[in-house]
Amino acid sequence: MDIFLQQLINGLTVGSLYALVALGYTMVYGVMKLINFAHGDLVALSAFAGLTIYVEIFGEGKNSLFVVLSVFVITALIIAFVGVLLERLAYRPLRTAPRLSAVVSALGASLVIQNSIMLIWGPNMKIFPSNLFPSTIWTLHGVVFTFTQVMIMGISALLMVGLYIFINKTKMGTAIRATAIDQDAAKLMGINVNRVIMTIFIIGSALGAVAGLFIGINYRGITFDMGWMYGLNAFVAAIMGGIGNIPGAMLGGILLGLFNAMISGYISSEWAETFTFVLLVVILIFRPTGILGETIAEKV
């Protein structure tokens, strides 16, 4: 039983990270019907930017709540800015162009960001200091969980609840939902679509930035090309939950993490990825719009 619970914790940790990244994909898709392939690379960029901010501004070894919080906030702001820039330069000019042009532009943007990371920080693996978060470890009935894991799960959950409230209860949230349903009609109703899209990119990128920092803090080693792997998994999670659907992305991310952990724990680690994708296919056969895709009519 404790092994099962341990795998549950393992799965929830990585699942929360996937969910945070998946939100970026799903929100952009919901509003713009565009798959933002560069999103994964923004996640990688945030890990590198966060590390530099921490080391250069605050200095290694400092780990007070204020320092850690500032690193998160500054990094999220920077990545949000890059996200907006990305939309301005790579997507806005192509908004009326055929869908394929936008996809190619997204792939191009992904390569630009990835190679920029490599040129700025070099091709070598960079390593996060181990003391950013306290290395406290709790053991409960044989189940081990670390402070970092608790933070990842807790903060991700908080952010997701916050986002859910924002989308459903605020004026801007209503505007986002309206734009997702019909951009032209939203415009006619006096909604500033450009501002809605900018908001989407700010929120999506900032959530990705938090995920990137968590990846750096938890796994410590970061490489310029790691965005691709997290991006792919999160993209799968977004599709699994129903792309364009916010609770769907959260559910998809967490399910993907759990599937992976359970399959490598109980069947075989070699087959974990294969089985996960088989599962994705099965889900799409029975629910072509993803797990939550049909139950909620409105996208986003």
Partner: protein
């Protein structure tokens, strides 16, 4: 006018071709195929730097056979597909010999191209399959997996008396080869293997596999892959409270392993040939001093030095045969006995295998230094 232009063009082409051929006669080109970017960049850059250093030293002494040496580097990122492209590129550039690559997979992907074009190749790849083709162009400058596997098995069963052994590798041809060879050697000594699994390199999250291993109560976890995964495996093992020893194969011997593992690095065992700093030979000390002086740091690991030995053997071959005919050089290298190398005497078997090689087990100390615990 047109005709005159044509004449001009042909004369330019002719002179440039002449200049090119003159140049070609004046220099001996040495290729470097290494993962200069990507996951193993740390090792690849070190190999590239090392080769450039040695070549500069030779050139300062007048080159070889009165010709200057020129280095042409190609980045294979440790990826087989890129390695095949590099092989073509280096062959087309007209290199006489290629140093590299670092990974067995990338080496194997390029091997046949070099063989078909008569280009000498020396690699530190330890996968046993590298010498199975018996290509006359290939020389291994390290020692094969099977030698390391036998040492590891002996250490586990006869010295440590481990009763429950878990073995993990990644999917690379090197790591699976080493893990399989270790399993074979352990079975010969009646070692009890309770788990043999694979992880996908670069996945970062290994907690699921480790939790599964935890439920099996192992005495030891042996990882045959590379340092960028090994350091994380060790850190996550400690995090999950798995009491077993952690033993890493030769490719875990890299400073980044310690950085990734952090405070968990202490107590890890690593199995490899002697580390650069404990090599007793004067030429080794001189090489390390020169490298430090030029690049401001030590080579990434022993792999750089092994590759440099391959390079030195080939250059020695060119000098002794007074020829740039690769077949002649190869024949000479196959008869070479105990050529004094940085990493010990060099002798090649007819299939290009380097003979000899002493392994050691190191225990990582609190300050990340190594203590030899068994040799």
């Amino acid at each position: 006018m047109k005709r005159r232009l044509l004449k001009l063009a042909t004369s330019i082409v002719a002179t440039s071709a002449l200049v090119a051929s003159l140049n070609a006669a004046d220099v001996i080109k040495i290729g470097v195929q290494a993962p200069i970017t990507g996951k193993y960049a740390n090792e690849g850059q070190s190999i590239d730097n090392g080769v450039k250093l040695v070549v500069a030293q030779y050139n300062a002494n007048g080159g070889v056979l009165g010709k200057k040496l020129e280095v042409i580097s190609c980045d294979d990122e440790g990826v087989a597909q890129k390695a095949a492209i590099c092989a073509r590129k280096l062959v087309n550039a007209g290199v006489l010999a290629v140093i590299g690559s670092y990974t067995s997979g990338a080496t194997e992907a390029a091997q046949t191209t070099y063989y078909r074009n008569g280009v000498l190749q020396t690699s530190d790849g330890t996968s046993d399959s590298l010498t199975k083709h018996k290509y006359w162009t290939f020389f291994r400058n390290s020692f094969p997996n099977s030698a390391e596997a036998e040492f590891t098995a002996k250490y586990f069963v006869n010295v440590k008396h481990y009763k429950r052994i878990a073995i993990i590798s990644d999917y690379s041809s090197y790591a699976t080869g080493l893990a399989d060879a270790t399993v074979k050697a352990l079975k010969k000594l009646n070692g009890n293997i309770i788990y043999r699994g694979k992880i996908k390199s670069g996945t970062q999250n290994f907690t699921a596999v480790l939790t599964k291993i935890k439920s099996m109560n192992p005495d030891v976890i042996y990882f045959s892959g590379y340092y960028n995964d090994g350091g994380l495996l060790r850190a996550q093992q400690i995090q999950l409270g798995i009491k077993a020893d952690f033993v890493g194969g030769d490719s875990n011997d890299n400073p980044d392993f310690m950085k990734l593992a952090g405070s968990s690095a202490k107590g890890t065992y690593l199995i490899n040939v002697p580390t650069p700093d404990i090599l007793p030979y004067d030429i080794a000390k001189k090489f390390l001093k020169d490298y430090k002086a030029k690049y401001g740091m030590m080579p990434a690991s022993i792999w750089t030095l092994l590759n440099i030995d391959g390079l030195r053997a080939i250059l020695h071959g060119i000098k002794e045969t007074k020829s740039t005919n690769t077949k002649k050089i190869s024949n000479y290298l196959h008869t070479l006995k105990n050529f004094p190398g940085i990493t010990g005497p060099i002798t090649f078997r007819s299939d290009g295998e380097r003979i000899g090689g002493g392994y050691m087990t190191y225990e990582v100390q609190g300050d990340n230094s190594y203590k030899i615990v068994y040799k």
